[in-house]
Amino acid sequence: MKKFINRHPNQYGRWVLGILPFVLLLILYVAASNARLAENPNDPLLPSLMQMGDAIQRMAFEPSKRTGEYLMLQDTLASLQRIGIGVGVSALIGLIFGIANGAIPYIRATLSPLIVGVSLVPPMAILPILFIIFGLEELAKVMLIIVGITPFLIRDLQQRTLEIPEEQIIKMQTLGANTWQIVTRLALPQIMPRLLATTRLALGTAWIFLIAAEAIAATEGLGYRIFLVRRYLSMDVILPYVMWITLLALMIDFLLARISRWRYPWFHASS
């Protein structure tokens, strides 16, 4: 008989096993929800799937009675814009400083200790300072994401740049390349797929900072809505919003992975 460690589920088995925990969770939820609702039909804590369906219908497909906007669309666009700008700017800064730090010893000696220090400061602890510098509007929300993830991106890309084989750099120099050419022709193309990979990892943190920023002060956004309706324990709105955020995050992650495979097939072939 084969050892357990050597036995693999077939294609269908993998599907069934993968879905099983989700189904169990769903059953557990529905059972607990039914038990609570049987006792108190207005209980807000664990709404039934139908109540959540109604909430989705109301938030996503009907214009709001008060403002005439489709709230979920409005919230999603506002949040996506913030996270898009925040992560985009962070990635750009991360790319520039990561390569500069990794490739040029004088820049690394000057900036690296600072970036290590800054990356260890929890941004949420210095919020009042961020408010005074960046105000309380859109800029502040984007800046919180940037402050939160850029140091991590720079540190990671600096490390990746340092990992570029020394032989390649020497070879380029023997072919007569100057510093600028080594940076743009050697480091940059090699770092780009790694930037995408690191950005995918940083996205989870970016979402946390986005939700936190929207909880602090906002008039729209996915995090704003969740924290607003939390005031009256409206879990029928919160749970679908959480699932929607998860789905959005998954889609962005998938998109970045596909871009990376499409633009840098050599990277995925080697690793």
Binding site: A35, D43, L45, I132, F227
Partner: protein, 351 residues
């Protein structure tokens, strides 16, 4: 053993989500959060006054501090606590609209200047038109603002409400983006300390509308009147101790100030903006007045307009609110009750 633990944990998790039962019992727990009108619970807990009264009725009462006000109400609504401190508006919009029949056992005080609208550089509320106003949306601050706007002939359409976390309101006011905030004490006094800050409207202009309560589960109270008696008895003993200028009263206020993160002077300045009902008879009179019924109607209408009674609520009177002076709204669906029964017993010395 390991296997047992593994099966036990999911079972426990599932069990924790199931509803609690409100049968006759002898152990109770109530929660409170830091606010000027609720600090006496901390003192009563620390000095053993609550325990003493619980012993008298042969029950146990656990007094638990929750650091987040809304979280404490949510915990109560989901059945983790038998009682919790909250304002009249939150009692209506969170537990009562969440189907948890709740009774305001003790009417402790009303805000008489503890909540206010602050503007930078301007000193007239009418100048608020067109501003972005930072406040905790859907809270009593929002209600206060709506009441203030009425007095100058404006509505919420004339301003933009920016939902802002209470823990960040003070530093938000220091930012140049923010020129109007609505908040409560002790945040209010910190905001007012900043240069150019002017108080343009406060709760002393709508006295008796923002009320601080001890709310308990109605079913639990009906099955266990002892629970109500012990809590009420303890409360008025604390009130009697903390009121006055003798040393024990000063010590009590110093304790409360300390627990609230300030000192006796700081706490007393907050008390000055709070109309405490030190005597049970005052609270009884207030609870029985027609004014309370009017206030609750106003609060229900405000809550309905902002969707706080549930998006499916057809009318502001969908939830019945019972007070000694009469009932507002649907009598078939009374979920918030004001009672003077226990406070009256305290006033008569029958506890």
């Amino acid at each position: 053993m390991l296997l047992k633990k593994r099966t036990l944990i999911p079972l426990l998790l599932a069990g924790a989500m199931l509803p609690g039962t409100a049968l006759a019992k002898d152990e109770f727990s109530v929660c409170w959060s830091i606010y000027v009108g609720w600090m006496p619970w901390d003192y009563g807990d620390a000095e053993g006054i609550v325990d003493k009264w619980a012993d008298k009725y042969d029950i146990e009462i656990d007094v638990v501090q929750i650091n987040n006000y809304i979280e404490s109400i949510n915990q109560y609504t989901s059945g983790r606590f038998d009682g919790c401190t909250m304002t009249n508006m939150d009692a209506l919009t969170i537990p009562a609209s969440g189907g948890v029949d709740s009774t305001a056992l003790i009417v402790g005080d009303f805000s008489n200047g503890n909540d206010g609208v602050v503007m930078k550089d301007e000193d007239e509320l009418a100048e608020i038109e067109g501003n972005r106003v930072n406040l905790v949306e859907l809270s009593v601050s929002h209600y206060l603002l709506a009441r203030g706007l009425e007095t100058v002939g404006l509505t919420e359409r004339d301003i933009t409400v920016v939902n802002t976390s209470d823990s960040d309101l003070v530093s938000a006011f220091a930012s140049s983006d923010v020129d109007t905030v609505v908040t409560w004490n002790p945040l209010l006094s910190s905001v007012l300390e900043q240069p150019n800050a002017n108080l343009v409207f406060d709760s002393s202009q709508i006295p008796g509308e923002i009320i601080d309560l001890m709310v308990v589960n109605t079913e639990t109270l009906e099955q266990n009147p002892k629970f109500g008696k012990a809590l009420t008895g303890a409360w008025y003993e604390i009130m009697a101790t903390m009121n006055g200028s003798d040393d024990p009263a000063k010590e009590a206020r110093a304790h409360m100030g300390d627990a609230a993160g300030t000192d006796r002077e700081g706490y007393e300045s907050q008390l000055a903006n709070t109309r405490m009902f030190y005597e049970a008879s005052e609270a009884v009179e207030f609870t029985r007045s027609d004014k309370l019924l009017d206030t609750m109607q106003r609060v229900a209408e405000f809550s309905f307009k902002h969707g706080l009674l549930g998006e499916g609520a057809p009318r502001p009177d969908v939830i019945g609110i019972e007070t000694p002076a009469g009932t507002y709204g649907n009598e078939q669906n009374v979920n918030l009750r004001f009672t003077s029964e226990f406070m009256q017993q305290a006033a008569d010395g029958e506890l």
